[in-house]
Symmetry: none
Subunit: 412 residues, 2 copies
């Protein structure tokens, strides 16, 4: 089962856009047992597209293609696919209906460019794209399946998850492949790999372990394969149980949830509410929490107290505390958490105060320093963390550290 | 001047690592006039490496290669390069000295793995890597230059900036390529393409236009090429001026800035301050604003008023307004903006109230509806927008709409 990935777009070659689509597609294809042979990025040029697709023809089982399906004249993938598959563009009524509905909702008239997006190669099977205007297209030629999708990441992901992966699974997998994603937080990759050396060495041949780190969260992906589904599931579960014995404090989910989803689930389960007082995280924690559907049930709101005055006037942090200990201190951050909890009348409050960078660091409190506090009706705790120099990465890391601290307080 | 990029590593194909190196190399190569023909990612397999390099031989002027130079047994690029260039590994004293020095600094003994890293193919020109242990290697064969670098991004960047780019510049200097990125907001891609049909048709042969849309922001990229740098620059500027005449209201930057950067720049320039009252955007606007270094100079803070009670208790929105008009209404959002401006004592305030979804929609106020208000000492304005069904995308679109509305108010 060989797969290839082809991403089309000048913006990829001149480095204006980082190709994140390929990693997503590679991961999804691997997950259902495909061997991804090559990722090829080429420009929006007819000859390059024809040559590249020609090279894969009859060699790969599946070729996933993204990009070049927009409504503008630099998007030439569709016409070139017609040439490659010796077919012509025809108007597709269903796609047109989706586009018309989308435009109507936004109160825009359907123009010639939109209408062109509803044209599809006659010989392809159309894959609906309810997340955007350009549909996916499924072709087969000389034993190779070619699937063309839009390059907009969320549209591509939607088409992959809803249609491409389920369909490929049906067509190709006699083998049963089961993934289990164990979400961990609290250490770094090299350290976790060291802790899990023996565990990894003891894995049976049909189970693989991968480390997928992102801003402090490390996803451990166990992939098992075999002809008997139940046996694979049992074998994976045995390894998961082992992980819980080795790193009980680090695992926060075995269902690929984010920290903000887990925190939300725990708050709902315990009938508790939450608010935040964010200084250095600038709204990112609130944003993460409210990205979860249903969060209005437990999240009451936040104060982003970027100025010291707002820490005093809205969160009731005594001026003297800030003057005496500084804004980035245990004393201030605990007062912020307590003030927010009173303001929003919640069971829990998160507060953060730190130095995201690039400026504002001192020898005692370098860039990357953050104080985080969790206040509840039982107690107020706080902890200091130190990260790196990159502002955006620091903000994300501070936020995850805060969510994990809250998680620990809820379950403690 | 044709260039190709080859990145080597299983982690790229299974999607464990996003290939950010290629975008960096592509951008650097384009900047000095290279036409990047293809980016190819392949696994750490001898046959794949040999085949891929063979395909580029005598066709590209330059092939940049990253990855597979680490000290572990799955890193086989160096041996395979020896095979491809028909040479053998020899110990390089200078590289060994760098490695020994680096290990001494970290208080590690030099082991067999480290020593192996000091071995290089006899026929290559060694490129020093003072940022890591694996050196870069420069080969030439049949008119093609092959440059192999480590896959660790900061090591590769170091070698690129210090050695590869200056050297390539010296060797190849004929064509000049200039990119100009015009950032627009306020319409969608198909509509913009319609407006720019004549403009695009009138572009000279040496200037290309590309559309790069993302959550409501559309980047227009003009790429010009020619043998005379000044003429290309002049020719591009002429087209930029034309764009300003055709779509004056849509352009918010010609320097590839984000909306939050532009808003920050305008606030600084005008000596004004800002705060937010966010309901449906849940902290995302504050997060975007505070992602910009230096934002603490003009951003005082926000209230994320997720609960109606906090709209009343912290932002002083009259209870009756919410009861009579609903939380998602012109009346409520304007009171939120005015309340926030008073609370934080700022010149401007942004307020949002809407339905991000997936639940909470009604026939009159469907999911995707948002009211946005901007309040200043001169006036309070508000506008309603309607977007789609995806919660996370709605939050992002609401936030950009708010930032753009603020931008218009600052410059009006």
């Amino acid at each position: 089962m060989k797969a290839e990935i082809v991403t089309i777009g000048d913006e990829l070659l001149i480095g204006q856009t980082v190709d994140t689509n390929s990693a997503f597609m590679g991961s999804e294809l691997s997950a259902i047992g495909f061997n991804v042979i090559q990722i090829t990025s080429i420009s929006d040029k007819r000859e390059m597209i024809l040559r590249t697709l020609g090279e894969k023809l009859g060699k790969a089982d599946v070729v996933l293609i993204t990009g070049g399906l927009g409504p503008t004249s630099d998007d030439i993938t569709k016409q070139t696919l017609c040439e490659f598959f010796e077919t012509k563009l025809v108007m597709n009524a269903e796609v047109l209906a989706i586009i018309e509905k989308m435009m109507a909702k936004r109160n825009y008239p359907v123009n010639e460019n939109n209408r062109r997006q509803a044209e599809v190669p006659e010989s392809c099977k159309v894959i609906p794209n309810t997340a955007g205007t350009a549909p996916g297209m499924w072709f087969e030629k000389e034993g190779t399946i070619f699937i063309s999708m839009p390059g907009v990441p969320h549209e591509m992901k939607h088409i992959m998850n809803e249609h491409v992966i389920p369909e490929l699974k049906k067509r190709f997998t006699s083998q049963h492949i089961i993934h289990k994603n164990i979400m961990t937080y609290g250490t770094f990759e090299a350290k976790l790999a060291e802790i899990l050396t023996d565990f990894e060495a003891g894995l049976p041949d049909n189970i693989k372990l991968a480390y997928l780190p992102s801003a402090g969260v490390i996803k451990l992906r166990l992939t098992g394969s075999g002809s008997n589904r139940e046996e694979v599931a049992k074998s994976i579960q045995y390894q998961v149980d082992k992980l819980y014995q080795i790193i009980p404090g680090l695992i926060f989910s075995e269902n690929e949830e984010t920290l903000e989803m887990v925190v939300g689930r725990l708050l709902v389960k315990n009938g508790k509410t939450l608010c935040c007082a964010e200084s250095c995280t600038g709204g990112e924690i609130s944003h993460l929490i409210t990205s979860v559907p249903g969060s209005s049930g437990y999240f009451m709101g936040s104060v982003v107290s970027y100025s010291n005055e707002s820490k005093t006037s809205i969160l009731d942090v005594p001026k003297e505390t800030i003057i005496r200990y500084g804004a980035v201190s245990r004393e201030t951050v605990e007062k912020m958490a307590e003030g927010a909890r009173k303001r929003f009348k919640t069971d829990f409050a998160i507060a953060t105060s730190g130095i995201a960078g690039p400026d504002g660091g001192t020898p005692e409190k370098p860039v990357g320093t953050v104080w985080i506090s969790i206040s509840s009706d039982k107690k107020t705790i706080s902890e200091k963390f130190t990260y790196g120099n990159d502002r955006v990465i620091n903000i994300r890391r501070f936020s995850y550290a805060a969510l994990n601290l809250l998680r620990q307080q809820i379950i403690s």
